[in-house]
């Protein structure tokens, strides 16, 4: 029997999140979620010689810790699903040299964590794995270097810009029924509403988030108040407001339960992060550090995590293309 609801939602019975680990940089550590993180690297280099190597280090450290916290060894993990923001997924590829486990590299820009968790959960529910590991990482300096301008260039960031989260989030999924479970996933489609401004990623991604959330509720027939929290990945302040309006137009009204990992990650007024946090690590770290704990101690019963990704290709952008986006919804439920 097909374990599916509607057009794009898969339903699971036996997938639990066994453990989660979160590593952050100094700025993330100073933010509101800092106290929930497992480790905070004081230095952007994280003891390495380059930012790219530092991100790789974050990736492996977070992965190892998640395995350790689950009480497992690398040999117990059947598959790793991981990705990052560097070209050709550099951090996960180089990071996985040190973790001897079959590996699927995934890329969904900042929605990578949602994509990794979705695939890992399906692999378990399908009976192909007992334990899987999902990791996503990003690094502010490495991302700026790759996508934008040199850090020391004296430019001004517009108010709609976001701040790439430095760090990595990792979780172990298992076939079991003791810990918070993954109940459903709704896989997003690529949406492009014509936004070309790379300094306004929230606006580019909001329609993708709206599509994923709308599909989730229409596929499942659930009410929006079924979830205590609906957290998008990295829409920021601008994107969240756009999302709220887009959903309203589709007849979905979400008020207090709608938040965004990027908004939760930094204190906008004191940390000068403008619209909020972003990057693969944004939703990964926010979930692994904070929301997972809330689910474990049952402060929240159900949450819908919707990591959002701007699938921007710098070459296509320079050729005048707009920014396509995607968002994947993952529904977690406390035991």
């Amino acid at each position: 029997m097909l374990k599916k609801e509607g057009r794009s939602t898969a339903v699971f019975e036996n997938v639990e999140v066994l453990s989660a680990s979160a590593f952050g940089g100094k700025k993330e550590g100073d933010g509101p979620l800092g106290k929930y993180m497992d480790f905070i690297a004081e230095d952007a280099m994280f003891g390495e010689k380059s930012w790219e190597k530092a991100e790789t280090h974050f990736f492996t450290k977070a992965s190892r810790l998640a395995i350790e916290k689950a009480g497992l060894k690398a040999d117990d993990i059947d598959y790793v699903f991981g990705g990052d923001l560097l070209n050709q997924c550099g951090a996960s590829a180089y990071g996985m040299r040190e973790i001897d486990v079959p590996f699927f590299g995934v890329y969904g820009a900042c929605s990578t964590f949602g994509e990794a968790v979705s695939l890992a959960a399906m692999t378990i529910e399908g009976g192909f794995a007992k334990n899987t590991l999902c990791t996503a990482s990003s690094h502010f300096c490495a991302a700026e270097k790759q996508f934008r301008f040199p850090l020391e260039l004296g430019t001004q960031r517009p108010p709609s810009s976001t701040w790439t989260v430095t760090g990595a989030g990792s979780c172990v999924l298992a076939n079991g029924n003791g810990k918070p479970k993954i109940r459903r996933i709704t896989t997003g489609r690529v949406v492009d509403m014509g936004v070309k401004d790379a300094a306004n990623m929230g606006a580019a991604m909001a329609p993708a988030a709206a599509q994923a959330i709308y599909s989730h509720f229409s596929d499942t027939g659930l009410d929006t108040d079924y979830y205590d929290i609906i957290a998008t990945g990295d829409l920021g302040e601008v994107g969240r407001e756009l999302l709220r309006r887009l959903l309203f137009e589709k007849g979905i009204k979400i008020d207090s339960s709608l938040t965004d990992c990027g908004i939760e990650m930094f204190d906008k007024s004191s940390q000068d992060t403008h619209s909020g946090g972003s990057g693969c690590a944004c939703s990964a770290v926010a979930f692994c550090a904070y929301f997972y704990k809330l689910l474990c101690d049952k402060s929240i019963k159900r949450m819908l995590l919707v990591p959002t990704g701007a699938l921007m290709n710098t070459t296509a952008s320079q050729q005048g293309e707009s920014i396509p986006s995607v968002a994947h919804a993952v529904a977690f439920e406390a035991r």
Partner: protein, 148 residues
């Protein structure tokens, strides 16, 4: 999912309305004052070197050297970006900004080696300025030659 042109236009209107603008007036004041200060420093240096008896060519050369050198030093110390964050065009447009645009990628791409990293990327920001600066000067020079 490809939205229709009309849907895209409607959405972009919404985006425009909800996206906060940069504080234009504040930025202009900062740019005017900071750019003015840099130019005043340059002018003061000119006067100084002129009083010291340097030829006009050498005065210009020395002023440029000092402004470029200070900007490169401030960039290396990580201070120019903090200035730029406030001053915007005020620190980008003068010659100090040009120095900053060459030093900042050089610092960053040194890790990829001296040839393909530092050497190749040094002009990643300044390159277009040089190319189109030269092109403009050729056009203006040609007009000047034939019509003035």
């Amino acid at each position: 999912m490809q939205a229709t042109k009309k849907e895209q236009e409607q959405y972009l209107k919404k985006v425009d309305k909800l996206t906060p603008n940069s504080p234009l007036a504040k930025n202009c004041v900062w740019a005017f004052v900071s750019g003015g200060i840099i130019c005043t420093i340059g002018e003061a240096l000119f006067k100084l070197f002129s009083a010291m008896g340097f030829s006009q060519d050498n005065q210009a050369l020395l002023v440029n050297l000092i402004l470029i050198g200070s900007s490169a030093l401030l960039t290396g110390l990580g201070l120019y970006s903090s200035l730029g964050k406030r001053c915007g065009a005020g620190t980008i447009v003068p010659i100090t900004g040009f120095a900053n645009s060459m030093v900042s990628p050089s610092i960053e791409f040194k890790k990829e080696g001296f040839v393909l990293g530092l050497g190749a990327k040094m002009f990643s920001v300044a390159g277009p300025v040089i190319v189109y600066g030269l092109l403009t000067s050729i056009i203006v020079g040609t007009i000047h030659y034939f019509f003035m």
